[in-house]
Every structure is written in C-alpha cells, then in structure tokens.
Symmetry: C2
Subunit: 220 residues, 2 copies
DNA sequence: AATATTTTTTAGATTTGTCTAAAAATAAAT
DNA sequence: ATTTATTTTTAGACAAATCTAAAAAATATT
C-alpha cells in the first residue's frame, strides 16, 4: 500500500530528477516541489526507503529505484489521462485541469484507468502536449523545438509547453496559442527577444520572450 | 474544510437516519456503517459537532443539522453521478462501481460534478435506480413496490434494489434482472415465498425470497 | 427496586504527516 | 585552511484518525 502523500513525493522526485537531468535529488528541492518543510521531506524519505521505492543515503540525496520509477510513471499516466478526460469530455480549459487531476490521480484502480484510456481512444498526449505512458509505462517522445529557435520564415505546429502554471496557459489561450495551432515566424527582434508571428493564419501578433522560450513546436 | 473521513461519517449518519425513519442515530450503528470502533465514532462526533454539522449530546444520539444534511445530499449526488459515469461511459457493471464511487465522491470540486452531470445528460437515477439529487439537492422520488407484493398476473418494470452489495447485484445480473427490465408474476409459492416470473419476455424462471424482497418495480 | 446487559464515553496509545528550532554535515568563500 | 553559508538531519511536539481496555450511563430483566 502506498498513500496519496507518498505518491506525491515519488512524483516530485521523478519530476525534479528529469529537470536536473541525471543525479541525486536534494531534500530542499523536494520540499519546494511538494510545498512542505525539509524536515518533513527527510522523514518521508526514510519511509520511502523502507518501502523500497527509493535509493537514499543520509546527506547524499535521493533517486527513484526501478519500483519507484514505475510508480511515478503510472501516476503520470493517471494524471494525464484524467486531464485529457476533463478537457476532451467535460469541456474544461487546459488551464483549469491540473489541480483536479492532482486529486483524481490518486484514485486506486488499474481497471478504472485502463477503461478510461480506452474510452478516450488511447490518446498519446495530454492537453498540454505531454506524452501519456501506456499500460506498460512506455511513452512516445515528441520531436520538439522551442519557438525561440525557429528562424524567420519558418513555421511549426504547437506540440507542448515548458511551463505548466495556470497563469501562463491562460495567457497563451488569450493569444490563441494552443496545442495543434500553427506558428509562423515573421520577424525576430534581438533587442528584447520578442517575435512577430502568425497564429493559424490569423492576423499577426507580437509574442514576448516568456512565450517563445516556453512553447514547443514541431517544425514544418 | 471537511475531510474525506468526516464526509463518510456524515453520509453514514444520513443513511442510517433514513433507514430507521426519523430520530436519533446511535454510536454503535455508525461504527458498524463506517467499519470502525464505537470509541472512534464518539471522537468524530465531538469533532463534527464543533464543525456544526450535527446535533449531538452525550448518550443522546446524533442527528444531522441542516448544514450536515446538505453535505450528505451533495455527497450522494457525487457518488451517484460517478456511478452513472462508470456504468454508462466506461462500461463497468452495476455491481462493480460502488467502491470506486466511494473514492471518487470525495474529489472536491463543484464545477467538476456539475459538468459531469451535464455530460451524462442530467440523469435522474443512478445505475441502481437510486435518485440523483440535482444541484439544489432536490431528487425525484420513484414510485416503487417490492416484487414480493405483485399479485399473480401482474407485472412491473425494475426500478430499484433494496440491497446494494456486490454479491446480490451480481446474482441479479445472472438472472438478467436489471434496472429497466420487466418482470411478470406467473405463480407464487407460499411455502418458501418463491415466485415464478418471466423476465423481459424471456423464458420463465424461479426467484427466491431474497430477490423478491429486495427488488423494486413500478407496476404496469 | 435491584441486578444484569447493552450502549456509550473516557483514558491512554499508536500511526501518519506535519511543524519549528537546534544540531550536524556539506559546500562555498575568504 | 579557516570561516561562513547552505543543506540536511534530528529532537520534540502536534493534529487527525484510529485502536483496546476500562469506566460510566442508559436499558432491560428479573
Ligand atoms: Mn497529487
Ligand atoms: Mn498535463
Ligand atoms: Mn467515501
Ligand atoms: Mn448507487
């Protein structure tokens, strides 16, 4: 048995571990990610170790072991399938589903999640463009590139975002930038890294660096 | 804020309170319903009282107050909408959804539940024939009657069940008895209260007292 | 009314997850 | 190589929800 809280810690370690590419995850990083004190993290790490979900030595940082990684990937699968359901079926905006999925991901039932997967048509990506692991935990990697790195004249299809917070997503929606939309680069301004682009054939707009550095496209 | 555990106690009080028609609910009854010790119930009753969800005096039993009742009805709404979703959309059997709904009902979001309601087409009854409260907490009463009380020659449509346990529901399914099916009484045997019936125009079968005493029909 | 039974509450512990404050270890700066 | 700063761990406490065993109150029985 693994509690919802333990699952959240596992997920946090997994997420940080990917961001910092490789190596040991620190106590403070986890504390920040799960929004708690470093002392609480240490307590939890001890427990997760006895449950054989992590590799952990005092002061040396932590790393998920294969069992822990499997758990994290399953959790990611659940989270993203629920997000897909909320957006595709219930009509929520992509900026509104994270917190709900954060709760729903802890519902314990493999049958439920697999039926949900089928019901949704076994989607490969969630509403934010993130890959959804299949039953075996395998997920498709997208071939992606930041808008920032498109040259003038080039264009791409939006396939993902680097920032996932509500405000950023909402901001993107206001510019009609969403997964699947096309972006063509008209002009780049080195001064402040702003870019003039055309979204889905609509009229030209200016996007700032925050956007171009955090939106992934697949070059056409 | 009200925790999932507190919600389960509130629901238990509500359910018992309806079964025993009126009056004060006892500590032991609740303990049985939520599967815990009477001592734990007493502790929780004290807490629920400070949260102003119940009317409670030492040794005098407990009763939901208006706020508590509202909570219980909302919970019932959530539970039954999730059950409907699981059966109608995901293809679960009516005997498989209770425990899942028991978890899902605690997801905290009014918007979610209202969108789910709309998505399902605002159903009035759940897969077990139980009424689903609307946003205001109002629910349709069904006009019902036990199969037991049908006379020879009479028939009715199955509209509900009195027992909700997995095994009973599964048993009914084996006889093809489900919500919406028609039942015609061919012959009644006083000796053991068994009844010979025709289900949905299929070939005659014998049903025992356990079934006839726990299946509700609407007389045709 | 007195006794026995059942129901309910208290007392005292335990587990899970959290906190603050202080100590210890590690890393960075001088 | 010391000193300083940062990170991490311990110590000790607390709230939520639970338990068992014992006491108290309410019911039922004789
Ligand atoms: Mn979560
Ligand atoms: Mn997502
Ligand atoms: Mn529940
Ligand atoms: Mn039901």
């Amino acid at each position: 048995m693994i509690s919802a809280t333990e699952e959240d810690y596992i997920k946090a370690i997994f997420n940080i571990s990917r961001k910092i590419k490789n190596a040991m995850v620190g106590t403070n990083q986890i504390a920040k990610e799960v929004n708690t004190s470093p002392a609480s993290v240490t307590d939890m790490l001890k427990k997760l170790k006895t449950k054989d979900l992590i590799q952990y030595e005092k002061y040396k940082g932590v790393k998920l072991n294969p069992t822990g990684t499997k758990r994290a990937v399953l959790l990611l699968r659940r989270h993203r399938l629920w997000e897909s359901f909320l957006v595709e079926k219930l009509g929520f905006g992509w900026d509104e589903v994270h917190d709900l999925a954060e709760q729903l991901e802890h519902i314990e039932s493999d049958e439920l999640i697999n039926k949900l997967d089928d019901y949704l048509g076994n989607p490969k990506f969630d509403p934010h463009g993130d890959p959804i692991p299949d039953v075996q935990g395998i997920f498709t990697l997208r071939n992606q590139q930041l808008v920032q790195h498109l040259s003038v004249g080039e264009s791409g299809i939006v396939v993902g975002v680097k920032k996932h917070d509500k405000d950023f997503l909402h901001h993107l929606s206001q510019f009609k930038i969403e997964i699947g939309k096309s972006i063509s680069v008209l002009e780049k301004f080195a001064y402040d890294n702003s870019i003039s682009v055309k979204i889905d054939g609509q009229k030209d707009i200016m996007i700032g660096a925050i956007i171009s550095e955090n939106v992934f496209v697949k070059k056409l």
